[in-house]
């Protein structure tokens, strides 16, 4: 393609369908550092736009203000997962006999997150529709304790929506990262090594992602709290402690 045609058809690079196929351009970028910056910028832009779109839908049930907070935080969450796990994922790849550089692993993880963001954005209209079908939160319960009976009905809707969003984000995240397998297969000496690296990355990203999503909470916000950006008390514990107490009733 000539430079004039490239300028004219710049939008092709942003085609979400081509990104979801995640084939040729990623394979080429791995071997060609000159293209990595350009592809890196495209991935970051895709994550910023698509994750923000889904984030807005995530928080809109609570209030438009919460929708704005969630739209700001969801892209940051995805970037934070990549930042937190790229070093350990690089090390894991190398000890599993798949010699990948930090730049390559970071680019691949960003691509996986970009694909996940596109999947979330594609489901945003459906999720928004279902959110509109749910009864809105009762404004009279703001400030009441969570155990108050009046909070119950809105809290039930909140939990249903939260489960739906977690399922969709989990599906998008796994799908986005599994798209990397084709490239990993080409880079790894064997299919079994590629699979091990893929599983290791999924476990690490999932582990880190759960904790970071806890720290970045709330995205929807419980109906008895006013919309806010960050819950400071969440920084005094962690997601897994909370899960343990929730499961054991402690």
């Amino acid at each position: 393609m000539t430079s004039k045609q490239e300028r004219r058809f710049w939008w092709i690079d942003l085609d979400p369908g081509a990104l979801c196929r995640a084939g040729q351009f990623l394979d080429v970028a791995v071997d060609n550092p000159a293209t990595q910056v350009r592809i890196l910028s495209r991935m970051c832009l895709t994550i910023a736009v698509c994750a923000a779109l889904y984030g807005a839908v995530f928080g809109v049930w609570r209030s438009p203000e919460q929708a704005v907070y969630a739209a700001l935080k969801l892209p940051l969450l995805l970037f934070a997962v990549v930042l937190a796990s790229s070093v350990v994922n690089t090390m894991l790849a190398q000890v599993l006999d798949v010699p990948l550089s930090l730049a390559t692993v970071s680019l691949m993880m960003l691509t996986g997150m970009a694909v996940a963001s596109v999947v979330m954005a594609s489901l945003a209209p459906v999720v928004f529709f279902f959110t509109l079908q749910m009864p809105p939160p009762d404004p009279a319960v703001v400030g009441l304790p969570t155990a108050h009976p009046a909070v119950g009905p809105s809290l039930r809707i909140f939990r249903q929506l939260l489960v739906m969003h977690i399922a969709i984000i989990g599906f998008a995240g796994i799908t986005g990262n599994l798209r990397l397998y084709a490239t990993l297969r080409k880079l790894a000496p064997s299919a079994s090594l590629a699979r091990r690296v893929m599983v290791a990355w999924l476990i690490v990203s999932g582990f880190v992602g759960c904790e970071l999503s806890w720290l970045f909470s709330p995205f929807i916000c419980k109906p008895n709290y006013p919309p806010h950006l960050i819950t400071r008390t969440y920084w005094e514990g962690n997601f897994y402690e909370h899960l343990y107490h929730a499961l054991t009733g402690g």
């Binding site: 393609m1 293209t35 249903q160």
Partner: protein
């Protein structure tokens, strides 16, 4: 950036600098298209409504061919008109149960609800197809979606006489609801079969994630039916009920009443 570093073709495989590559019929040993793909050729006639409807039932692969070619927009327009007509007819028969305002409210709601459901699910259809490695462009995806919904509509019209008989001979709202649900699911199943075959033909490979998408579409249409209720019973407070319920909650409460 040169051709080696970025795909210089767009999603349909067209070289952005020149004419689209010729579309070739799938090989005979691709067993996923031997039956469906036999009619994979141009429509012999113009893309009028009757031609398209006939092709939809008898040789839908010809419509798939047209959707891939330059005549896709006349075919899509004909399919949209067919969807409006079929869903309006189905809605009219639905409205004969309660009569009165449902004679026009039910067809209007069925048509509007179908189109809104399709539009809500279009982005995910395109992305799920791409995730599976498919190379359909957004216009082609729109055409396939129109094909899918049009077949559902056509089958619902086929069920219309049966539904009318029961509508005239029973007072049970729950039974009629169950009947409509069954007819919709049967139509959806045939639509899914067509969608999977058509997408396999277009993409030259199976597109497995579309099975997930088809369930998503079904759930959206079922929720849409609850959002637009009442569709069968006589409306008590205006055209729409107004209260917000998940569709399964609504069904269970109807059955308990």
């Amino acid at each position: 950036m040169n051709d080696e570093t970025i795909d210089s073709t767009n999603c349909s495989g067209d070289d952005v600098t020149g004419a689209p590559p010729p579309i070739s019929a799938p090989a005979a040993d691709e067993d996923f298209s031997i039956g469906f793909g036999k009619a994979y050729h141009a429509l012999s006639d113009n893309c009028g409504l009757t031609t398209v409807v006939e092709a939809l039932l008898k040789y839908p692969a010809a419509l798939v061919y047209e959707i891939e070619q330059d005549r896709r927009w006349p075919v899509i327009l004909a399919l949209v008109v067919a969807i409006c007509g079929c869903m309006a007819t189905y809605g009219l028969v639905m409205g004969t149960f309660a009569g009165g305002v449902q004679y026009w409210a039910a067809p209007l709601k069925v048509v509007v609800g179908t189109f809104i459901s399709a539009i809500l699910c279009l982005p995910s259809l395109y992305i799920f197809n791409s995730l599976s490695g498919g190379r359909m462009t957004l216009p082609q995806t729109t055409g396939l979606l129109a094909l899918f919904v049009a077949l559902i509509g056509l089958l619902e019209v086929g069920f219309a006489p049966i539904i009318w008989i029961f509508a005239q001979s029973t007072n049970g709202v729950v039974f009629m609801g169950f009947l409509h649900l069954t007819c919709w699911i049967v139509g959806w199943l045939f639509g899914v079969k067509l969608l999977l075959a058509a997408s396999t033909l277009v993409n030259r490979r199976p597109v497995t994630l579309l099975r997930v998408w088809s369930v998503l579409f079904l759930v959206v249409t079922l929720q849409m039916s609850t959002a637009l209720r009442p569709l069968i019973a006589v409306p008590a407070n205006g055209l729409l009920d107004g209260s917000k319920l998940f569709f399964m909650t609504h069904w269970f409460s109807c059955m308990q009443r």
